[in-house]
């Protein structure tokens, strides 16, 4: 065998691709992970500017369960990848909030806090909230046909106060809804469990620690990782993928291909496909305004882990109608405000990160000079909008950075810089070819834990079972 023939080729060295790679290499497959970018992580990557470490995607890891928990996606991924709970050094959140005009619902990793907040602010809705809790679908019971039901319809059949519906949707859409305005009910159940019933956590060292663990394990098991190796096309013969041709002309062959590039993006790579279903491409992309403070954020009055805000009673989950961004809704997160172990101390600087909805096309059209100007302008407008809901921290700011849909596109290669990928998910991971499969964002799970579980389950279902 030469070094150009593999059992499985994986496209993309993000969380899902690396996790799938570990599973397959553990069971002695020859695996190659191909990454277009010069660094790993995809959406969940990291970078260093002016001597400071920044994370790209990570605000929080959702799906947090305490050490010893035997159920849930975190427990499953630890077992499947043979990690210990302590390997990820997860610290739980300090406490978060959903803030709308004149009303705030606090929540943390214990659902009882959210429940009591709803009982206080929405006394007529609490029995209905309990009904929703009992009707959520389990992770393992999600079927494609139940998945695509309208969440707004389901919630309108349970709650009678529309404001509570908007407030519950706000964090769940922000952290994982690829569709505009409404959400697939399957996705709602996944997000509800992962955020409200499980919870937020973060490793002190950020996403680096998780990626380092994954890459080290993958390499120890003999897996190949090729950076700056963009796939030019997937070579197709009939209904079968033969391998890939890289942008530099190198040809690799494999028994099967697992792609985390996204459903539309993967179809476009196939040498046989002339028509690509572009309607599935997601439209939702973001800018992220990062503030570095001269103190820990709680000294500046920001003591929450995450605040999801919206400036009116109706939640605006739609791409901007006419401008580069829409800052009427946003998410503020401080990586400092987690309950880190005392031995770790405080993070090197105070950080507040803020995400706002952006328009991909308008950001891409800007020339270099206006791009830089608009970054500064939208940093100002977004932080200004936030001060309606959190203490004004701006006089503490000593450095800023903004990343845009252009940045997201560079890290993820997703069309439109769509952070949560396609609007229609492919839960079983299959494609029109009999040995090409999808994993990652477009298979259905989002977030770090979700992406890892996606890689694991697609590797198990499509790349390991066939060998049994």
């Amino acid at each position: 065998m030469t070094n150009t023939d593999y059992d499985t080729i994986i496209i993309g060295a993000g969380m899902s691709g690396l996790a799938a790679g570990i599973r397959l290499a553990h069971y002695d497959q020859r695996v190659c992970v191909l990454e277009k970018h010069y660094t790993i992580g995809g959406l969940n990557s990291f970078y260093r500017v002016n001597g400071r470490n920044y994370d790209v995607g990570l605000h929080a890891m959702t799906n947090f369960t305490e050490k010893g928990a035997k159920k849930g996606p975190l427990a499953r991924l630890l077992k499947q990848l043979r990690f210990r709970w302590d390997d990820f050094q997860l610290a739980p959140q300090a406490g978060s909030a959903i803030a709308f005009p004149n009303i705030q619902l606090n929540f943390n990793n214990d659902i009882q806090l959210l429940r009591s907040e709803i009982a206080t602010h929405f006394p007529t809705q609490i029995d209905r909230f309990d009904r929703l809790l009992s009707e959520l679908i389990e992770y393992d019971d999600l079927k494609q046909e139940d998945f695509e039901v309208s969440t707004r319809q389901v919630l309108a059949g349970i709650f009678t106060d529309p404001l509570l519906i908007e407030m519950l949707l706000c964090p769940l859409m922000w952290y994982g809804n690829a569709r505009q305005d409404d959400m697939d009910y399957g996705q709602f159940c996944i997000m509800f469990r992962s955020i409200f019933l499980e919870g937020f956590a973060r490793p002190f060292k950020g996403v680096r620690l998780i990626l380092k663990n994954l890459v080290r394990r993958f390499r120890e098991l003999g897996g190949h990782l090729k950076l700056r190796s963009g796939v030019e096309r997937i070579d197709v013969d009939g209904c079968h993928a033969m391998g890939v041709t890289l942008e530099d002309g190198t040809q690799l062959t494999a028994k099967r291909i697992l792609s985390s590039a996204g459903v539309v993006e993967t179809m476009r790579l196939c040498s046989d496909s002339s028509v690509v279903d572009v309607d599935r491409t997601g439209e939702l992309t973001f800018i992220e305004s990062i503030s570095v403070l001269d103190c820990q954020p709680k000294k500046a009055g920001f003591d929450k882990t995450i605040v999801f805000f919206n400036d009116s009673d109706k939640f605006h989950w739609h791409q901007p109608e006419s401008d580069l961004c829409d800052v009427r809704t946003g998410v503020l997160c401080s990586p400092n405000n987690y309950l880190y172990d005392d031995s770790e101390g405080d993070l090197e600087a105070g950080f507040i990160r803020q995400t706002s909805i952006a328009h991909f096309g308008r950001w891409m059209e800007l020339d270099e000079r206006s791009y830089r100007q608009q970054k500064m302008r939208w940093y100002d407008l977004s932080t200004q909008a936030a001060t309606q809901f959190v203490p004004d921290f701006r006089r503490h700011v000593i450095d800023t950075d903004v990343f845009t849909p252009k940045t997201i596109r560079r890290f993820t290669s997703h069309d439109n810089g769509a952070v949560y990928g396609a609007t229609k998910k492919q839960l079983d991971g299959t494609t029109h070819l009999d040995n090409l499969y999808l994993c990652g964002t477009d298979q259905g799970f989002v977030g770090i834990v979700g992406a890892i579980v996606s890689g694991i389950s697609m590797a198990n279902q499509h790349c390991l079972r066939s060998d049994l």
């Binding site: 069971y27 159920k71 077992k79 210990r84 709970w85 393992d140 389950s457 390991l464 049994l468």
Partner: protein, 86 residues
């Protein structure tokens, strides 16, 4: 392998799959599912580890034999008796 050696091997696989789990008080007659809350993905892993380590093949319709330690050892005994413990 003797039944005792097979039992040790299964314990080793379980401790690799669930390193945070205390296996010292595992009861052989009680199901893994009940004691460790193993799910179908975990059972598939036990099967795959046995294949990887010892080339033991277990058909899918026989996975039910892996319910508890006692049933697993007695099911594997004829399949593994000729394997020399490394």
């Amino acid at each position: 392998m003797t039944p005792a050696e097979i039992r040790d091997e299964i314990l080793d696989i379980l401790s690799e799959i669930a390193p945070d789990e205390d296996l010292s008080d595992l009861e052989d007659a009680k199901s893994f599912r009940e004691q460790m809350e193993l799910d179908s993905m975990d059972f598939l892993d036990i099967v795959m580890e046995l294949r990887k380590r010892h080339r033991v093949q277990i058909p899918e319709d026989e996975y039910t034999n892996l319910a508890s330690m006692a049933s697993t050892v007695s099911y594997l005994e004829p399949k593994m008796k000729d394997i020399i413990k490394a």
